[in-house]
Amino acid sequence: MRLDEIREIARIEADREDGYRHRINVCVAAGCLSCQSASVKDAFEKEIAKRGLENWCRVKGVGCLGLCSGGPLVAIEPAGILYHTVSVSDVSDVLEALDDGPLDRLVCSGETPFFKRQKKIVLENCGRIDPERLEDYIAAGGYQALHTALTLMTPEEITREIEKSGLRGRGGAGFPTGLKWSTVAKADNETKFVICNADEGDPGAFMDRSVLESDPHRVLEGMALAARAVGANHGFIYVRAEYPLAVKRLKKAIAQAEHAGFLGNNIFHTPFRFDINVRLGAGAFVCGEETALIASIEGQLGRPRPRPPYPAEAGLWGYPTLINNVETLANIVPIIREGSQWFAGIGTEKSKGTKVFALAGRVNNTGLIEVPMGTSLREIVFEIGGGIKEGKQFKAAQTGGPSGGCIPEHSLDLPMDYESLAQVGSIMGSGGMIVMDETSCMVDVARYFMEFCRSESCGKCVPCRVGTTQIHELLGKITNGTGTAGDLTKLEELCDLVKHTSLCGLGQTAPNPVMSTLRHFREEYRAHIEDRFCPAGVCRMGRGKEGE
């Protein structure tokens, strides 16, 4: 395919869209699908056919519209109206109201901070395009960045753009993406691989899932750009089997891209060739760790191995391998398209761009949000999130999932960037954010996350395998009222051990929820131990070991 062909497709699509007076976008990402948005979409189609409105209105399934707590969501374009909790029985009312202005009982004001405070880069196409149509992606400017990069830029220039943009890995650790790329690019080998890590496993996190389900081509294009930059010809997407919709849409997108010549040999009539294969994860959290993920793709036991050597030197089957997370790769296209200067102008000094968070827990608006790096926790919770449910008191926000930590109330003004989060003992992680109010017991929260780590530990190294189990046991004792003062010391010693001696990131970060709650909520631990009392009223005390 040539550039003029792409532009022609984009033009035809735009004309076709403009031909409709009303465009009805129904969210068909996993959240809304789970509250029957598919049947709402069907109902719209049937009703439109019944009324003979096909030439005036068109219905389209689109990716995530963001406000998951209000699903199923329906957006009306070009009026710019968003309806929440639309059921099949509302369909005819919505259609009635198309010409006369919004239907008040279902309308969501687009003027609320939930929408206005967000800045969409990664999610720019989410909720706008039909994820299953390549033409939609092209109409949104898709694959033009790849064309530019292949025809006008050298691989070094692509890497330099990414370096200059200041983009850092969105998978958790925040390693500079450009540096990673240049390392792989410098590795001296004919065969190299690009892997997209889509094994999103943090409880409550669904950022990558939404991107894959709402805009799969963006990830493919990002991978192709990465492959060009580092000199790879083969790509793998490692996606967890628990995301069947993402898998289906990815596979469809790959087939479309291959058919259109965006993947395969001689892409854009250049010598560059690149193919992508999908590999399914079988449900092990540890396979999100890059060396375990590589072992899993190789068909081996999904267990990490010591680094160095890093995958950049010796990765998949021993070849230099670039491994980036979904959200990182989703940032590549806009950076190439808009330039590194533009991207570097967003965010903070050391953390550039935006971050997608899966906002969950005790806030009024839960869902997927994208905000510039450096946005304060207060803004996220109280403006975008609309404050705490039922007017209760904010207690803590947990970021980074089981590897992260709890941020207390006095750090509400903390800017969300890599360094600030690390300072309070948490991490950015992949972007899970769970907001807790006074009804949450922090010891119980720590116990929950430790239970997760314990059952997800691969069992290879001793500190993680047994250490997480022992920490979980101790937290169990404390939450059932049989903890002793000595247990607190043991807890701290074990956390220190597991953090510093575990083989991989899972173990090294597993103590974070315990250590951060010990740091910020020590008095709650004390109350459980000394007074046999759970201040939040969550833990059922007095169930000792004996007689259990």
Binding site: K545, E546, G547, E548
Partner: protein, 177 residues
């Protein structure tokens, strides 16, 4: 200097550690000259006295009576020595721990009893769910592992204690020795 008031006690164990204690040959004479044994299986004392300087405890904690006795000993002693593997690790008494208590009792008193099979319920200490090492119940000052700890290690430990030092026993004995 007056004699050191020493006690010994035997919880859920085989008495092997006490045997090893007596196994120190002529060095026993030297030790006995320096200590008064005020309580334990080696002497005739019905109650645990106050003001014990050193108590050597053999065996794991398996019953409510063991817990009570251990707590009393701890209260009344300056230094408590966890003597031997049963006291330190629960060792052989702890081998029942991987089975539920009811299963253990059934196996011991019903399935393996040739006649009059019944689980004793009265006038006997109540078995704990699991046999556990001493330090899970009370603070322990000195650990001397071994099954039994060699007599030489016990001698060394006592000499150090008599000299007023808490001994480093890490290379004097080992688990199972």
């Amino acid at each position: 200097m007056g004699k050191i008031r020493m006690a010994t006690s035997w919880l859920d164990g085989c008495s092997g550690c006490h045997m090893s204690l007596l196994d120190m040959d002529e060095q026993l004479i030297d030790i006995v000259g320096k200590v008064d044994i005020v309580y334990g299986p080696l002497v005739d004392a019905k109650v645990i006295p106050e003001g014990i300087d050193v108590v050597l405890v053999e065996g794991a904690v398996s019953t409510d009576a063991d817990v009570e006795k251990l707590r009393l000993l701890r209260e009344r002693s300056a230094i408590l020595v966890s003597l031997g593997d049963c006291a330190v690790t629960a060792n052989v008494p702890g081998m029942r721990n991987r089975f539920p208590l009811a299963e253990v009792l059934k196996r011991g008193y019903e399935e393996n009893a040739p006649l009059n099979a019944q689980i004793p319920r009265e006038d006997l200490p109540h078995l704990l769910d699991k046999a556990r090492p001493l330090h899970e119940f009370v603070p322990v000052d000195v650990f001397l592992p071994g099954c039994p700890p060699p007599a030489d290690a016990i001698v060394y430990m006592l000499q150090e204690l008599l000299a007023g030092r808490i001994p480093d026993l890490s290379n004097k004995s080992r688990f199972g020795a």
